[in-house]
């Protein structure tokens, strides 16, 4: 298996991009990634694109050839990858496998979601289709209610507080203020978060990622050829993916995602790294409790201490283990299929030392963690400066 590196990154602004279409967004992100890699486009052998639901958001299926076509890259093979909110990271994993196997040399890993061409209520209903339609959505379960059920249980088992959860939102929105591409540029306080309307108790509006448009692209090549394109290649040192039950009730626990633990185990083993060696992480904070559970399941602290380490500032941008320096899903925005790619893009910038105002110190090893639905899929990647 060949070692794989990222040599180009690009993204659109994340937000409500009413004047930009689906096809314009992917072209913008792709063009920036190509420029970053110093490529013309003719080098590309294949494209993998993460997208959850163009069919429901813009009534457009068969988006893979549409993207290849409008990028001027047809007949290059383009494949759509879907794993709900983990579609982006899964596209990255498939692109990595394609390069590692020797099947292709230059591969684009892309992610895109156009969510604001429908009204917010429809957008939330589309999100709810990641849950089991027969036994969860049928009962009235919303996307956020699933995380609310986990949050309540986490509070019950470990004494996690609403203030600790609110601190995750405060931290990530602060980081987003340092990111020009982020959707939300607003500083929050714990009081502001706690006073925002309850979406599904105990979770409040400012604890949940919003509906966002956005696209992001990465360009992957074999590590041995990476220096042809850049002086600062970043290796994808480990990749892990795992599945779990689609219904929350069928899980062995509501306070830990088995898929995250398994995907992390695979990625750490492949990279020969341990959690304590990670310098910076982008984790899947679809809600505040999601980040608290993620830092525990990824091995950054003991189970149940995710709230505590947030409170202690361990995960702050100037702390010993910055988590979500980009602003995360809550601050940067969560264009479903694009999120996993945007997370990797942030880690690449951090490892290159190009993250500007939000640059963290001593970034040698970075981690990304992308979750599909309430935890039916998790994908973890480890990145290393070479």
């Amino acid at each position: 298996m060949r070692r794989v590196a990222v040599v180009g990154v690009g993204q659109t602004k994340f937000g409500e991009l009413w004047d930009t279409s689906f096809r314009q967004m992917i072209i913008e992100a792709g063009t920036r990634a190509l420029e970053d890699a110093g490529m013309s486009g003719k080098e590309i052998d294949a494209i993998y694109v993460g997208n959850m639901s163009a069919g429901q958001f813009i009534r457009q299926e068969h988006i893979a050839p549409l993207i290849a076509d409008h990028s001027g890259l047809a007949p290059v093979p383009c494949t759509r990858v879907e794993a709900a909110c983990a579609s982006g990271a899964l596209a990255l994993r498939e692109a990595m496998v394609a390069v590692a196997s020797g099947m292709h040399d230059v591969v684009v890993a892309a992610g895109i979601e156009k969510m604001t061409d429908v009204i917010a209520e429809t957008g939330q209903e589309v999100l709810a289709t990641v849950a089991d339609q027969e036994w969860e959505a049928f009962m009235g379960a919303t996307f956020h209610s699933l995380f609310a059920l986990m949050a309540r249980r986490h509070m019950y088992e470990f004494g996690t507080t609403e203030e600790q959860m609110a601190l995750v939102a405060v931290k990530n929105h602060h980081n987003a203020c340092l990111n020009a591409y982020a959707q939300h540029h607003v500083e929050l306080t714990v009081e502001k978060v706690l006073q925002s309307p309850v979406v599904s108790s105990p979770l409040k509006m400012l604890e949940c990622a919003s509906l966002t448009d956005g696209a992001a692209c990465l360009i992957l090549v074999p590590l041995e050829e990476a220096r042809k394109y850049t002086d600062t290649p970043v290796e994808i040192a480990g990749s892990g993916q795992a599945s779990d039950t689609i219904t929350l009730g069928d899980r062995e626990s509501l306070v830990s995602l088995r898929a995250t633990r398994e995907a992390a185990r695979m990625a750490y083993r492949m990279a020969g790294l341990e959690p304590r060696q990670v310098n910076v992480a982008e984790v899947h904070d679809a809600t505040t409790i999601s980040e608290i559970m993620a830092v525990e399941d990824l091995g950054f602290c003991k189970k149940g201490e995710g709230g505590k380490i947030t409170e202690e500032g361990i995960t702050a941008i100037d702390g010993p283990l910055p988590v979500n320096p980009s602003g995360g899903l809550e601050g940067r925005g969560h264009p479903i299929g694009a999120t996993g790619i945007a997370q990797a893009l942030e880690i690449v910038l951090q490892l290159r030392g190009e993250a500007g105002k939000r640059q963290v110190k001593k970034a040698e090893v970075g981690l990304t963690h992308n979750v599909g639905g309430s935890g039916g899929t998790a994908v973890v990647h480890l990145f290393r400066r070479v």
Binding site: E134, G140, L149, V198, S200
Partner: protein, 140 residues
């Protein structure tokens, strides 16, 4: 949800019929066709649940889908049934302030939602705190 998709699950939704693996005796609800523990050596047969259980976690939904709009806010719970499975159900006949994790509930037959003026009415189960109440009879 289209009629056949609802109709084919009526025994499960109205009668709480799940499945049990004859090899390891684990009970599944919602029903599974394959036992994930025994796989090919497992043998799943229909199994009717008592409907008795305890609240494992709960939430009150304030922002919900169009079909549930007239019910907002409503409570959802994960109920741990006495036979082992955990199932999602709305909580009924109670208020959030009174509810506790670990509280005993029973699944009772209720209207879940309606599909507009002319669509079908979906029935199923909701969870009701027991609190000294005698268990509600379910149709056999």
């Amino acid at each position: 949800m289209h009629v056949p998709r609802f109709w084919r699950e009526i025994p499960n939704r109205y009668g709480l019929v799940g499945t049990r693996c004859g090899h390891c005796n684990r009970v599944f609800f919602p029903p599974r066709a394959i036992c994930p523990h025994c796989r090919r050596v497992g043998h799943l047969e229909p199994y009717r649940l008592s409907g008795r259980g305890k609240i494992y976690s709960f939430t009150t939904v304030y922002s919900g889908p169009a079909d549930f709009k007239d019910q907002l806010p409503y409570m959802l719970a994960i109920v741990e049934l006495e036979e082992g499975p955990r199932v999602m159900a709305q909580l009924t006949d109670c208020r959030e302030e009174e509810v506790k994790i670990g509280e005993e509930v029973e699944l009772v037959f209720r209207r879940i939602r309606e599909e507009g003026e002319e669509g079908i009415i979906y029935y199923g189960f909701k969870a009701r705190p027991v609190r000294g109440r005698s268990q509600e009879a379910r149709p056999s």
